[in-house]
Symmetry: C2
Subunit: 275 residues, 2 copies
């Protein structure tokens, strides 16, 4: 998907919501466990109920790998369902991969070709030649970890090299890589004011923001410091939406939560772009 | 597997060789493509021919994911074959995972429980709470990326924070984490003299060293600077061994290459420990 198409979907739906499909069989409604593929059955119900309220879905690969082949089949079915039924949706493989060049190429093939995701999250630790193989794919997007939303972000990401935090070096350095126009960044919302600094370095890039809601971030502050003239934000919510209920009304309950966030987002868009 | 068992296998086999099972269907002998599962057929032949010469095998997950479900089935069969036929072999899932706490737990389950690997490689960028879920597993080992062997290692890993390189901060900080006695480290062999500094920080930990041979490292120098009283080294070779030939003698050719490295390693062990 092109960035232009993503922006146009955001404007149309008045939403920059991304829903994280992190399916834990211990948390989904019990009666779904009788289904042949409970993970896919759960995802399909969530997608059917919420696709008009969000612009992106983000399965985290860990939750699928934990179930082995069965999990990978569910991941494959989920992305296939999204691509066939909702080609207007931006899809993110939250995989946090990254390896030496020829190996990263294999990962890029896995997620961009075999599974046909629009984007994949990538860890920056191994540097340029571990990321560029992902950037080589046209109309695909690489979402580089910059500042994550967990406590461990303070172990290395916020340490300073020459008076500048490691995550800012990641932003500045990666800007110069080949096809960097295909880069987006993961930026945690736990400290929204960091976004002002980040926007100085990468004014135009899309940011994937986890950690609004459950992890403590505030939607309004994220928009205040992070929104740009192309919107430039995808805000993710996983557990807060998909586990809104664990009875038979779980899909409707997820739609209610997604709708609340969509309405807040519509207000923020009106604030920034006018009515 | 316990570390003691690994050390005793090294002493018995006079080898600290790890063979990387990075199977690319474009590089294996053409006639294997007729097999029902060419990737597993290739791995099985390599394992049958080399298991007495090495102490560890390391499939890189990227090469399996690139082939989708078929690839994951081959990975599952490979680890099952190793665990059943050669329980004395130390197995490494070269996956370079890492995510927020509850998600890392899912990855740990995928590799330690579902696939039953002895160890997994993990990226440090997201800090303590992204790594500790892996460390919680008894008799399992977490191999943390410190200094990798690729050019991109110089983008962030060797930059200095308070006059100390980022990868040294990774070594020092991770030493204090819960169950850090289950930590090993990936340290590239491209600059063997770095190993002297590294041994100052982590004298006792095992190091997984890629990049000997194809990537330019020198076995003798790695041993000179990296070996400790528990050996403390696993040296990986992938392409140099598994693609030694791509005709019908490929397994024998891989054994010849592995044997050459094993003999060099036996000399290094004799050098260090006496005969």
């Amino acid at each position: 998907m092109t960035t232009e198409k993503l922006i146009s979907e955001i404007k149309k739906k008045q939403s920059f919501l991304c829903i994280g499909l992190d399916v834990d069989l211990n948390k989904i409604p019990k009666y779904l466990l009788k289904e042949e593929d409970p993970i896919f059955a759960f995802n399909k119900a969530i997608i059917d109920a919420t696709h008009h309220l969000c612009v992106a879905y983000k399965p985290n690969t860990a939750f699928y790998e934990a179930y082995g082949i069965k999990g990978w089949k569910a991941l494959e079915k989920t992305i296939k369902y999204l691509n066939e039924k909702h080609p207007e949706i931006f899809t993110i493989a939250d995989a946090k991969r990254g390896d030496i060049g020829n190996t990263s190429t294999m990962y890029a093939k896995a997620f961009f070709e075999d599974l046909a995701f629009d984007s994949v999250t990538v860890a920056p630790y191994m540097g340029k030649d571990s990321v560029e193989p992902f950037l080589a794919f046209k109309d695909k997007h690489t979402i580089l970890l910059a500042l994550t939303s967990n406590q461990g972000a303070f172990d290395f990401q916020t340490k300073t090299i020459d008076d500048k935090e490691v995550y800012k070096h990641v932003l500045e350095t990666s800007k110069s890589w080949n096809d960097a126009n295909r880069l987006m960044y993961v930026v945690g919302a736990t400290k929204a004011e960091y976004l002002a600094d980040i926007r100085q370095i990468i004014p135009d890039s899309f940011l994937l923001v986890p950690g609004v809601g459950a992890q403590g971030g505030n939607l309004h502050d994220v928009c205040k410091y992070g929104m740009n003239d192309s919107v430039g934000l995808l805000i993710n919510s996983s557990r807060g939406i998909i586990y809104a209920s664990n009875t038979e009304d779980f899909a409707e309950a997820s739609a209610t939560k997604a709708s609340e966030l969509q309405q807040e987002m519509a207000l923020e868009l009106a604030n920034y772009f006018g009515n």
